[in-house]
C-alpha cells in the first residue's frame, strides 16, 4: 500500500509527508522445527547414448557469448560420467500432515550468459524465488503456469533482482525469455520443502524427514517422470537411485 501512496503522491505532484508506514503483515511466525533428522539420498544415472544438445548461435549477443568459452549449447540433457543433472526430485506420499518447516532462505535463479542458472529450481509454496540478471542486457521472464498466476516482467540491466512467489503447488512452471528464445527454465512448486534438484554428479539429498515410508517422484524436462518408494529409520539415511534411459 505504501508504494501506491508514494506513486500517487508523485503523480499528484504533492509533497508526501507520510512516514514509514507498516508495510503490511510479514509472516512473523518462526519457521517450524524440522519434523525429523532422517534423510534420503540418491543418484540419478543416465543409461544409453547421450543426445547432443543443440548449439546456440549467440553471435548477436557478444556480452553473453564471451561467457561461454567453448561454444554455448542448450543444456537440455546434461550428463556427466553417466550421471544426469537437472532432475527435480520430490516426496509425493508418506509425509505426516503439515505444517511443514519453511526453508530459511529464498530460492534463486540467475540469468547469466543468456542461460538460466540453475535450469531447474524448486520452491515451497509461498517461498520467495529471486530472479536475478547478471547480463548487461535485457531479459524478460515470462512464466506461463497452469495453476498459479502468470507474470511477464523484464530486467533491462545487470544486477536487477525480482522476487516472485507462488501460491499453489505446480509441477513444473516453465520460465522463458522471449528476447532469447533458447532460454528455458523450470520451477517446481511444492507444498512442502522436501524436494531437491540433482547436481552435476547426479546426486541429491532430501533431509529433515521423520522416520517413515515415502513415495518419491522425479521429473526431467524431456526424459519424463519416474517414482519409487523408500523407507527411512529415525535419524537414519536411506538411498534411492533412479536411472533414465537414452
Amino acid at each position: 500500500m505504501r508504494r501506491f501512496w508514494v506513486a500517487s503522491c508523485l503523480f499528484a505532484f504533492l509533497a508526501c509527508g507520510g512516514g514509514d508506514g507498516d508495510s503490511g503483515g510479514s509472516s512473523g511466525a518462526a519457521a517450524a522445527a524440522p519434523l525429523g533428522n532422517s534423510s534420503i539420498t540418491g543418484v540419478i544415472s543416465f543409461a544409453g547414448s547421450v543426445p547432443t544438445n543443440p548449439a546456440i548461435d549467440m553471435a548477436e549477443e557478444p556480452d553473453c557469448a564471451v561467457k561461454h568459452s567453448d561454444g554455448p549449447t542448450d543444456p537440455i540433457v546434461v550428463v556427466t560420467d553417466g550421471k544426469l543433472a537437472n532432475v527435480f526430485i520430490r516426496i509425493v506420499g508418506g509425509l505426516p500432515d503439515g505444517p511443514y518447516p519453511e526453508p530459511s532462505e529464498a530460492a534463486a535463479i540467475d540469468q547469466n550468459g543468456c542461460l538460466y542458472s540453475p535450469r531447474v529450481v524448486g520452491v515451497m509454496v509461498g517461498q520467495t524465488l529471486e530472479i536475478t540478471n547478471s547480463d548487461p542486457l535485457l531479459h524478460n521472464i515470462k512464466a506461463v503456469p497452469t495453476e498459479n498466476r502468470g507474470f511477464n516482467i523484464s530486467q533491462p540491466r545487470a544486477g536487477m533482482t525480482s522476487p516472485r512467489t507462488f501460491n499453489t503447488p505446480e509441477i513444473m512452471i516453465p520460465l522463458e525469455c522471449n528476447v532469447h528464445g533458447w532460454m528455458n527454465a523450470y520451477v517446481g512448486v511444492v507444498e512442502h520443502s522436501y524436494f531437491a534438484t540433482s547436481a552435476v554428479d547426479g546426486s541429491f539429498t532430501i533431509g529433515g524427514l521423520p522416520a517413515g515410508t515415502y513415495q518419491v517422484a522425479v521429473w526431467h524436462e524431456t526424459l519424463g517422470t519416474q517414482s519409487g518408494d523408500v523407507t527411512v529409520e529415525a535419524d537414519g539415511s536411506a538411498t534411492l537411485n533412479f536411472t533414465f534411459g537414452g
Partner: protein, 224 residues
C-alpha cells in the same frame, strides 16, 4: 537537423525518395507561403491608433482558387503515389524470380527459414536462422511473414520497406537490395516489453558469395 533521407539500398529507395522530395518541395512552398504570410500580416496589419480594419466578408474568387489549387496538387500527388504503391505492395507486384523465405515472427525474434539446396520451401532440407537474413544483391526476395503471437512489423530502413506481420494473415513482402552490406531489421509495431530490442540483421551478399554461403550453410546443416 536534416530533412535528407538516409542512403537507400534497395530498388524501392529511388521511387519512394523521389516522391518524398516532391512532397517536401510542395509542402515546403505551402509552408513558406503560409508562415511568411502570417508574419507579414501580423506586422503589416497590427493595430495602430486611428486605423480601422477594412470590412471584407470574403471573396468567391479567392475561395475557388484556394480550393482548386490544393485539390489539384493533392490529387496529382495521389496519382503519382498510386503507381509506386502498386509496384511495391500491389497484389501482383512480386516478381516471379523472387527468392522465397518464410519468416516466423514472434516475441521478440525473427526466424528466417531458407530453402535448402533443392530450391523449394517446405521440404526437409530447409534450415532456419534466428535474426539473420542472408540475401543476394540485385535479386528480388519474397518474405512470407507469419506472426505467431502478436502483430509485429518488418522494417528495414535502408530498403524503405515496412510491412506488418499479422497473426492469422498471409502477408508477403518483397524487395530487391542494390548494395552489398549489412543492414538492421527493426520491429516497427509495439509488440510488448521487448519490442525495443526486437532487431535482426540482413546481410546482402554478392551473387557468388551468396551461393558460397548457402552451400557452406547447407553442409553445416547436414552435419547436424
Amino acid at each position: 537537423m536534416s530533412w535528407i533521407l538516409p542512403p537507400g539500398a534497395s530498388t524501392f529507395a529511388g521511387d519512394i525518395d523521389f516522391l518524398y522530395y516532391v512532397i517536401l518541395v510542395i509542402t515546403g512552398i505551402a509552408f513558406v507561403v503560409v508562415e511568411v504570410g502570417l508574419l507579414v500580416f501580423a506586422i503589416k496589419y497590427r493595430a495602430r491608433p486611428g486605423r480601422k480594419a477594412q470590412y471584407i466578408q470574403g471573396s468567391i474568387k479567392a475561395e475557388i482558387i484556394w480550393t482548386a489549387v490544393p485539390a489539384v496538387t493533392l490529387v496529382i500527388i495521389g496519382l503519382m503515389s498510386g503507381g509506386v504503391w502498386n509496384h511495391i505492395k500491389g497484389r501482383n507486384s512480386i516478381p516471379p524470380n523472387a527468392i522465397p523465405y518464410e519468416v516466423h515472427v514472434k516475441q521478440f525474434e525473427w526466424n528466417f527459414t531458407y530453402r535448402g539446396p533443392d530450391g523449394q520451401l517446405g521440404t526437409a532440407d530447409d534450415f532456419t536462422l534466428r535474426n539473420q537474413l542472408h540475401i543476394p544483391v540485385n535479386r528480388p526476395v519474397e518474405l512470407q511473414l507469419i506472426a505467431e503471437d502478436v502483430i509485429h512489423s518488418f522494417f528495414v530502413p535502408a530498403f524503405r520497406v515496412k510491412q506488418d506481420a499479422v497473426p492469422g494473415m498471409d502477408i508477403n513482402v518483397w524487395f530487391e537490395a542494390t548494395e552489398v552490406g549489412e543492414y538492421e531489421i527493426a520491429c516497427a509495431e509495439l509488440c510488448g516489453l521487448g519490442h525495443y530490442r526486437m532487431r535482426a540483421r540482413v546481410i546482402v551478399h554478392s551473387a557468388e558469395d551468396y551461393q558460397q554461403w548457402l552451400s557452406d550453410r547447407s553442409a553445416a546443416a547436414d552435419e547436424e
